[in-house]
């Protein structure tokens, strides 16, 4: 099939999946006794209805953009990094230590904390990467195990090492070290700008540089890449480290910009959400960002919807889950030879009609 046809399918399938998932979501809302039209309207209003609402949506999108870019980057090199959540958490722990214990404040503290977050996240990604290339391990299981280890380590930090008095949470990041807001009246901070810039850089690297080309070549066919003399193992390790650094940077940005303290449930689910968004976005960095913003809107709007109609916010999780289930199945369907033959036949008919 032509290249333009394929990218068109890559656009249509997720879109149809989203519409189908929302339709099912509407049916669920109706089953719960709410008027789906009212519920959906309040969902949209909640997400985009006002300047502060848009700010909330973009704030919620920021960590998701980071973890989805993390998943996207590793998968472009053919490895499945499911450890985004752990790397994100390690990044936030690093940022927490920089801002709370070093005595540095203000802009230097922000910069050092962001850098420390990226470095520590990269180290956390290095472990499954090095075990993959030296011991041939299943990187998915290892990276997931490190998610649990990171979550527990964070538990040690907020219940012990940096505990704030009697409450099991860390102290808040000092006001002067918090990431400032981009626009007054909207909640999102410069963390959002960093996320978008990062997405653009990743896009540039993957599609406009020879390094990015090689990395994608390894992802598409590692054997062929090895025969071409590409250092496959080095690329796999590198992709894990960078992927971890992306998530780690996200973790520190989230701590400095939105959450300010580590607490039970911090970052819970962000890793898998990121994987879902990267897959729905067809592993294209820019599309992935848009998908992340869409799901953030769904979540931000769900709160308003719950207040207005009583439909629980977890409906948005169901819709998100359905989108991933439909998108992946849909993409597989379009790759089936019988489907391609059907399309081909159809397009031939059209062309035949024109020429006749």
């Amino acid at each position: 099939m032509a290249k333009s046809g394929k990218s068109l399918i890559g656009f249509i399938v997720p879109l149809l999946s989203i519409l189908l998932a929302i339709a099912i979501g509407a049916v669920i809302m109706a089953c719960l006794g709410a008027n789906p039209a009212v519920a959906l309207k309040s969902l949209v209003t909640g997400a985009f209805g006002s300047k502060p609402n848009i700010g909330t949506t973009l704030t919620k999108a920021t960590p998701l953009i980071f973890t989805s870019l993390c998943a996207c980057f590793a998968y472009k090199c053919g490895v499945f990094n499911l450890g985004g959540e752990g790397q994100f958490i390690i990044g936030s722990i690093a940022a927490c230590y920089v801002t709370l214990t070093t005595g540095i404040t203000g802009v230097p503290a922000m910069l050092i904390a962001l850098a420390a977050g990226a470095v520590c996240g990269g180290v956390w990604g290095f472990i499954p990467g090095i075990l993959k290339i030296t011991r041939g391990q299943n990187e998915m299981i290892i990276s997931i195990m490190f998610n649990y280890i990171a979550t527990l380590l964070m538990g040690v930090v907020y219940t012990n090492w940096l505990r704030d008095g009697s409450v099991p949470q860390t102290q808040s990041v000092p006001k002067e070290s918090q990431l400032p807001r981009m626009i007054t009246g909207m909640r999102m901070t410069w963390g959002f700008a960093i996320a978008i810039a990062l997405g653009l850089i990743i896009y540039y690297f993957l599609y406009r540089t020879s390094g990015g080309f090689k990395l994608r070549a390894v992802g598409i066919n590692a054997t062929a890449a090895r025969f071409n003399g590409f250092p496959v193992k080095r690329f796999i390790l590198l992709s894990f480290v960078i992927s971890g650094a992306i998530a780690g940077l996200g973790g520190s940005a989230e701590l400095l910009g939105t959450q300010f303290r580590l607490i039970n449930g911090f970052a819970s689910g962000y890793g898998f959400d990121g994987v879902a968004m990267a897959l729905i976005g067809q592993l294209q960095p820019i599309a992935t960002i848009l998908v992340a913003i869409f799901f953030a809107a769904l979540r931000a709007g769900a709160t308003t919807m719950q207040a207005a109609t009583g439909v629980p916010t977890s409906v948005s999780d169901i819709i998100q889950a359905l989108v991933i289930v439909f998108t992946v199945a849909g993409m597989a369907l379009t790759r089936l030879s019988s489907f391609e033959a059907f399309l081909l036949r159809h397009s031939h008919k059209k062309e035949g009609g024109k020429s006749a």
């Binding site: 391990q137 290892i142 380590l153 219940t159 897959l279 977890s314 030879s337």
Partner: protein, 307 residues
């Protein structure tokens, strides 16, 4: 009972959910289906098991329904990977996102926002006559819940099925070389579907075990990575029933040990002990390395036209 006695008792108890899920994965992979959605299947099984037990008061009905719903959910995976040839890993991951979301949605809709924890009565242990009177060992191994005996029986059946029966060899052929199996008249598609039914059921049982035989309540994230540890157990147990049993007992031991250590120690943050099962999984996989011992066609889509 002594420290060691308690430890062994807890080891067996903690190994069971992983064992059920890992056996499910074994049946799946032997037919060439790598299913990494175990965590999700166990989550939905756990919730449904809890809910049915909560409504009817029967732990057995809970476990049965948990298995049934997990099978239904796994049919989505089966259809997408078998009929649509979707990537096993990607689709398994999709199930890992879908199934827990469904589970927590059902829980929230049913129980509302009520803060009080709903509880059920756990399945009771049944002593095996004569054997349970053996000093020490009897109390530990032959006075467990029926689920433990079922799991052990399942291991024996699995070993016999794969190594001694014709059906088992045919089943394995599908995982090794589906094209060749098809030419021998084995129905590859049907075998793969059977594999997904078994995998769904066993994962669901593993999840339901946690709510009906271990902790008497459901909390989000209660599977806590056991689905992935089960994946590791299959690798560690080298795709054999006995190997998987030993691997699961090892992981169960790690879990049991960390609980004992948590209770005992003062001063060391308890989270460090909770890390033990996860660190052990990483170490176990690192030691065994990445030798490919599993079914050769595992994870590969089966397209009829590719003969």
């Amino acid at each position: 009972m002594s420290f060691i006695g308690n430890l062994i008792l807890a080891t067996v108890r903690m190994a069971m959910p992983i064992l059920f899920i890992a056996l499910g994965e074994l049946y799946s992979e032997r037919a060439g289906m790598v299913n990494i959605g175990l965590e999700g299947l166990a989550a939905i099984g756990s919730l449904v098991g809890f809910l049915m037990c909560f409504i009817t008061g029967s732990t057995w009905l809970g476990i049965l329904c948990g298995a049934l719903v997990a099978v239904l959910v796994n049919m989505i995976y089966a259809f997408a990977t078998i009929n649509l040839c979707a990537d096993h890993t990607v689709y398994g991951m999709a199930m890992n996102i879908f199934a827990p979301a469904l589970a927590s949605f059902i829980y929230r809709v049913y129980f509302g926002k009520g803060s009080e924890l709903s509880q059920i009565t756990l399945m009771k242990g049944i002593g095996i006559p004569v054997l349970k009177d053996i000093p020490f060992i009897g109390a530990l191994l032959f006075n467990q819940t029926p689920m433990v005996y079922i799991a052990i029986l399942l291991v024996i059946v699995t070993v016999i099925f794969f190594s001694k029966t014709r059906a088992g060899l045919n089943y394995r052929a599908v995982g090794e070389n589906p094209q060749a199996a098809a030419t021998l008249g084995i129905n590859v598609i049907r075998t793969k579907y059977i594999a997904c039914v078994l995998c769904g059921a066993l994962s669901g049982i593993g999840g339901a075990y946690l709510t009906t035989c271990y902790s008497n309540t459901y909390t989000e994230g209660n599977i806590a990575g056991r689905g992935f540890i089960a994946l590791a157990a299959v690798i560690f147990g080298r795709w054999s029933g006995v190997g998987i049993l030993i691997a699961c007992l090892f992981f169960g031991f790690c879990d049991a040990l960390q609980i004992r250590l948590q209770v005992m120690s003062i001063g060391v943050p308890y989270q460090f002990f909770q890390m033990i099962p996860y660190v052990a999984t990483v170490l176990a996989l690192t030691i065994i390395g990445g030798r490919k011992l599993g079914p050769k066609a595992a994870g590969k889509p089966y397209r009829k036209e590719q003969r």
